[in-house]
Symmetry: C4
Subunit: 261 residues, 4 copies
């Protein structure tokens, strides 16, 4: 590593147009890594992710770094699989492993949103239909109040044209997604899935799970007829209350995930 | 505890406007506590509750006391987590633990309904869409006949205004919910979930489970077209018959829950 | 038992209007009892029955007797719980146990249908909405071809009036249900569930499972628009082919059920 | 075997109109057989197959041979159950076992499509409604982009008439199905299920699973209103990207299946 960093630094000094290998911010807190591993398993057990999807967390030693596994199924992630990235989504030490093609989702959101400490990207099944529909995702109960009344939909055609592979495979597309997300907690991605943010791993998992639940319940409610959604004030008040209750389901999810590991 | 009770009594005698710490009604029957613990686990396994939701039972030694866990996920409740509350939902000995913000649901219903011995509050997924719809929950088969033909919907805006956090977080809101419930077995809570009552833990779990099942089946039936619901007389007759059969599913649920503990 | 049989015979000879305790046809084949026990567990694992529902089989020693458990959840049935009934649904030896209130479903169908060797009664969830709808259950794929094109719906109001408890709680109601079933394989029961028949335990379990699957898939197909159902000829041809393939899923189901016991 | 091959060759030389028993291409790679066994279990765990459905792979030693289990539930398949077939779907050595009635699906597709290395036939539940509907299956997200914009529906009435048992029970019907499939990845089979092809076992399992997911999500999206599907260009680009990512879910599925074996 030291040699590579030295080489990258040397090349950079020499004016070479390479993407310099970033230096490490140091070892993250072991409990943060444990929560990142467990959070991956929880998302799989809750059905938010399957073989695809990813969870990241901002580095506790440096806000310009984040932690995420190498390219692999979330249910299989172990501490050894966690890599450190800078906010351009360059891995500090890729360890010869393949990286997620869409890691730019994470880096660009951490850049644009200093308040965000954790990010989930998923194709959770009830969300996808809303991503290709004119119907907007709206909170139908207090558990999903964090959605607020303005869940945006990211149309990748606007930035990548009519024939893209739909992946957020560059910093430019990641930055466009971050602009669509703006100050919200969830953005849908047309024909793809969603991105969800939070101030901690437990909270972002809570957000990802209840966004999916809301999609499922809202779809059912729409089939029954007119729906009474939360008002903007109710959503704000309930979200504030729920923020203090995140530890309750997290305790349950973490215990179950660790039991089945 | 004795000191606190004495202090509370003393303050009350002195006319102090404090909420006196209530005295204990004594240790409840151990089998009742076991059923309360198991009932929590059963509700989690049946999908009626997730990380949220609660089950309470009236104290067998004193109708002015009820038993419920501290604030935690139902699937994790153990006998040690069970606390005693008076009907104002003040814990006799909170043991330094956080309490459910919505414990008033339970206390106020026990006050208003002397026939009720157990209460479930949940956000069970098929019920929520009915809580935000103009379509009323109605029994489509004998298993949910206890619903009767008048399942009310509690609109918290009527008591707490347009910008509440939707929680039954005070005795006043709890009393309003109890008034909406009136003499029925289930009341929906708009944008939130439901409350279900019974004459025992097995019966209230039965009610909560089959109310959820009815919501799921009624939603499907509505999509097929016109629905033939139970008549009022059929609902009453079937509910009476089912009351004698509650032990059958309870035996199954209890055995499964104790096996997976 | 001999004393009771003697007493019943004596009372009958004396002209007493009692329901004589029937004599036993002898011990059934142990493999038949094993399949009956396993069949109960399979139906529970497939979600066809929950705490309620029952499976019976005609006695291999006497076509005027059938075997079914005492009143209990199917998932918990063991060989010791199996009782012998005559076709009036009187237990040869109730062993002091409670009997299913609806055992008459079984006895009356065995009376009316000599070709039937096994019967399932259930409230399986996708079937119930069709029981309260004007839409008829029809085979949408070859697996449910045994349904044929005439799945009847039993309206208990026609025999028991507007205020019944919906249960088939007498020989008279059972006989009416058998008349509605006529020569078919499945009859829906309005506001209740269904009854399914077969020529063996594996076949009746196959029928009950794929009737439920058909209900679920047909409901989804209807939501998409016009549906192409099997023709009468296709249904007949496919049912005949499938009859020879029942052992395939039965092997799987039996193995899984015995593994999880 | 040698005797049978000799006999078959002899009869063929003698001009006898028998279906000559084909010779073996030799033992396949043990890892291919392992993947075939695991692939069967994975398809069962993913809910793509139940007691019915089958997976085959082209023989690695001879493109005119393929490997598939004897007639049995996929979840129970072991290496010993795998048989070798020629492209007329004659078993090289049936070992006295019953064969799938519909093995011609596989042989005829391998004949018509030299690019195809693996085939799945299933009745996966979300696909069946599309097979009997006028609504075409179309990719709503990148995961199912391999569907392309032309998923054909095979109407067996066109080849087998109005009263068939719906099974692909002859080389002629198999060849007709292969013509309907043409160059596509998935063909629906009216009133029956689907056939899915791939260039490897992991890829065909991926295709079968995400075709089922697409059906489920597309059905939900349609209920919400107008749907934005992938363009032809997006589908092609995303399918190409996903082809390189098949190992990711396969690792997860294989590990889970081997753990639960």
């Amino acid at each position: 590593m030291r040699f590579i960093a030295w080489l990258a630094a040397g090349l950079a000094m020499a004016g070479a147009p390479v993407l310099a290998q970033p230096g490490s911010a140091g070892a993250p807190d072991a409990r943060l890594v444990e929560d990142l591993v467990v959070g991956n398993h929880v998302l799989a057990e809750l059905g938010v992710v399957d073989g695809f999807g990813h969870l990241s967390v901002r580095h506790d030693k440096d806000p310009h770094r984040y932690l995420m596994s190498r390219s692999m199924a979330p249910a299989l992630v172990k501490a050894d699989d966690v890599l450190e990235y800078d906010l351009d989504s360059v891995a500090v030490d890729p360890k010869g492993q393949a990286l997620f093609l869409e890691r730019f989702i994470h880096g660009e959101i951490y850049k644009a949103r200093p308040d965000v400490m954790a990010v989930v990207h998923s194709h959770s099944p009830a969300i996808v239909p809303f991503s290709v529909s004119q119907v907007r995702l709206q909170p139908i109960y207090h558990m999903s109040s964090f959605l607020g009344l303005d869940v945006p939909v990211f149309e990748i055609r606007d930035i990548a044209g009519q024939g893209s592979n739909l992946l957020v495979s560059s910093p430019q597309i990641g930055a466009a997604l971050a602009r669509t997300l703006a100050g919200n907690t969830v953005a849908l991605m047309r024909g793809h899935g969603s991105v969800t943010v939070g101030t901690s791993i437990p909270q972002v998992v809570f957000h990802a799970y209840y966004a999916e639940m809301n999609a499922r319940l809202q779809a059912e409610a729409i089939k029954l007829g007119a729906v009474t959604y939360l008002t903007r004030e109710e959503a704000a008040a309930a979200a504030k209350t729920n923020d203090a209750l995140v530890a309750r389901p997290w305790d349950l999810w973490k215990r179950k995930a660790m039991k089945s590991d």
